[in-house]
């Protein structure tokens, strides 16, 4: 099996600050700085620029069309009958499928049309709920969209489609954990007194983390490093949320968080697993930065909870802790970044 990835950030290219340093140290003239930038491949050529612009325009075009479709369904235009509305969205789906069949991915037409089909699936589900007033919670719409759209996200073989799928899934998780609808199919399983809200939030964190680990071990071109970073950010976004809930005792039932060792253990495990794996891979320091950010926020919340904000000493302590912790984190991350980049070279 091919190992994960070599993120662009760890490639041995000189960064702008290093080039600035060279220009300053050698007192280079503008002509020589131009040569320096060209040799470092730090400035894209005209052809590269046009290629980037063309790609940007095409992606922006696809996203605009997708937004237009969603806006249209949301507008709930009364002049078109129910049948017509369904037919319109389904027609879009059929056209997208036909284009993808004729020009399959990885061609841009194939990718773009499957991405549009993914968006149209969500629009169709929303239209269904809007028309028949199914009584489903909003999270159920997004969760169903994520499940039904998964084959499309896979078929698109495109990082943009993968990222869109991750966003839809996480929106469903945020709505499920955050709105406490105490309804819907998942709340039958996870509601009541069996699980504390922080456990559910931590569960959402682990869903993202599991996906991150999966794509770390199983290299897929459609899930490049930036999509994995998105998964990592979502994972520890939920992790931080659960940790803060546990510390400030929000959302617990009358027993309080006294017996909530589950959140503490699973969050610590998530942080340790990520740190150990990243340390061994020596490829990208982003996961470490996210773990450190989570640690800083949680420790700050815990310190604030110790004595409240009643006296000035607490503010000084929080300021000093923030300064110390972020300095240490920044120092460790910078050194590791340089060292790993050196080793990758």
């Amino acid at each position: 099996m091919r190992r994960g990835y070599t993120p662009p950030r760890m490639q041995p290219k000189l960064k702008r600050s290093e080039l600035d340093g060279l220009a300053e140290f050698h007192s280079l003239t503008p002509t020589k700085v131009e040569a320096l930038l060209d040799l470092a491949n730090a400035r894209p050529s005209r052809a590269e620029g046009l290629r980037f612009l063309g790609l940007c325009l095409r992606i922006a075009g696809i996203l605009s069309l997708a937004a237009g479709l969603v806006f249209f369904v949301a507008a709930n235009w009364a002049r078109i009958a129910v049948f017509g509305r369904f037919a319109l969205v389904e027609l879009v789906l059929v056209i997208c499928a036909a284009v993808a069949f004729l020009k399959p991915p990885p061609s841009f037409a194939g990718r773009g049309s499957i991405f549009l089909a993914f968006i149209a699936t969500g629009a169709l589900l929303a239209l269904f709920g809007q028309t028949y007033q199914t009584g489903a919670d909003v999270y159920e719409l997004f969760l169903t969209w994520a499940l039904l759209g998964l084959p499309l996200a896979i078929a698109a073989q495109w990082s943009v489609a993968s990222a869109a799928w991750v966003l839809v899934l996480n929106l469903a998780l945020v709505l499920f954990c955050g709105w406490h609808p105490t309804g819907g199919m998942l709340w039958i399983l996870f509601g009541g007194t069996r699980f504390q809200p922080a456990h559910l939030v931590m569960g959402a964190a682990w869903v993202n983390l599991a996906l991150w680990f999966l794509f770390e071990f199983w290299s897929v071109q459609a899930v490049p490093d930036w999509v994995r970073r998105l998964l990592m950010s979502c994972a520890f976004g939920f992790g931080t949320w659960a940790g803060v809930m546990s510390i400030v005792e929000i959302g617990y039932n009358h027993d309080g968080p006294r017996n909530d060792s589950l959140t503490f253990v699973t969050l610590t495990l998530a942080m340790l697993a990520t740190t150990i794996y990243t340390w061994r891979r020596k490829a990208d320091i982003y996961p470490l930065a996210v773990v450190m950010g989570t640690f800083i926020i949680l420790s700050l919340t815990w310190l604030g909870q110790l004595n409240g904000f009643h006296d000035e000493g607490m503010f000084l302590m929080l300021a000093l802790w923030l300064i110390g912790a972020s300095t240490a984190a920044g120092r460790v991350l910078t050194v590791l970044h340089r060292r790993w980049r050196e080793e990758a070279a």
Binding site: R9, P12, K15, R16, S17, E18, L19, D20, G21, L22, A23, F25, H26, L28, P30, V33, A35, L36, L39, A42, R43, P44, A47, G49, L50, R51, F52, L53, G54, C56, L57, R58, I59, L63, S64, L65, A67, G68, F71, F72, A75, W77, Y286, A289, G293, E312, F315, L318, A319, L322, I323, S326, T327, A329, G330, R331, T334, H337, R341, E342
Partner: protein, 338 residues
Amino acid sequence: MSAVNREFIALLREKGVVPASGPEAPEVTADRPWFVSLLQGVAGWLAGIFLLVFLGMVLKPDSSVALFILGSMLLVAAWFMYHADRHGAFLDQLALAISIAGQLALAASVLKDHFSALGASVTALVLQILVLLVMPNKIARTLAALFATAAWVYTVRFLVRPGSIESIFFEERFANDAASGLWLLPVAWLLTWLPLLALAGWLILREPQWMASGLRQFARPMLTGVLLGLSIGTIVAEPFTMVILGTELWGRGIDWLAIFPLLSIALALFAAYGAFRVRSNGLLGFAVVAALLHLGRFYYLYGTTLLWKSVIMLCAGAALLLAGIALRNREADAGGST
């Protein structure tokens, strides 16, 4: 010096860009990825606020003069810390927190007795420009450039349409006489963004020139800050647009004003192109996220119906797609003919 640098220096020597003999350039120690800078910037800001609250509770500076002295002393202390640690990264965070606390105290001293929305905007702008010029630190300068952009947006907003500070976020009164002042919107938009677009464009095009001069220490953070500001700055400008359109106009029929949020997306895409030109993946990602945020704002805000928004997006999508395909075909033709 790292192997990467050594290899590159050898190439530069071979090509005659740097002298064949002579000392090697020292390693850039303050170089850090964008997310580390983000983590440190946010932490520094928060620490600065905590520090200012602490100093306020202990010293109780109740006059403008006392606040001014406190703010100035903090800024001077921050400058010395940055200067003493300019080749390291140990005092950076402390200096950033002290600098933020100093800026807030100084702004409070100016505004304490003569508070106005325009005054607050101009004070913030002047302070940020001062920090950009004086503080010997890249993160401090970048943050200053970003906040100067936001302050500039507000300065133009309150110059064109004077109002109170309470009206920054929600002002609906202008909805009643929107027709008399509709011309203000494009004028203010151009006044706000054209100088920033010109500055970013100039900095990108003239990069070799300023890199070869002492300007590089200001120009690099300024370019980063302005690109960030162009990406997200229109969200800061949101109140201004609210002032012009007003919430009472939501859902009314289409008029030409509905295209303005799309201009925010265009600004973010310009920033994305700028980020590509300086090969910054962090800035590029930020600009793309900002463009998506603007799209979300377009859905919820602004004076037209969802149906018209849908038509606008479909037309814009088709136009963008066609332009992108035309560019690709042109590129393919050029590749085929060479």
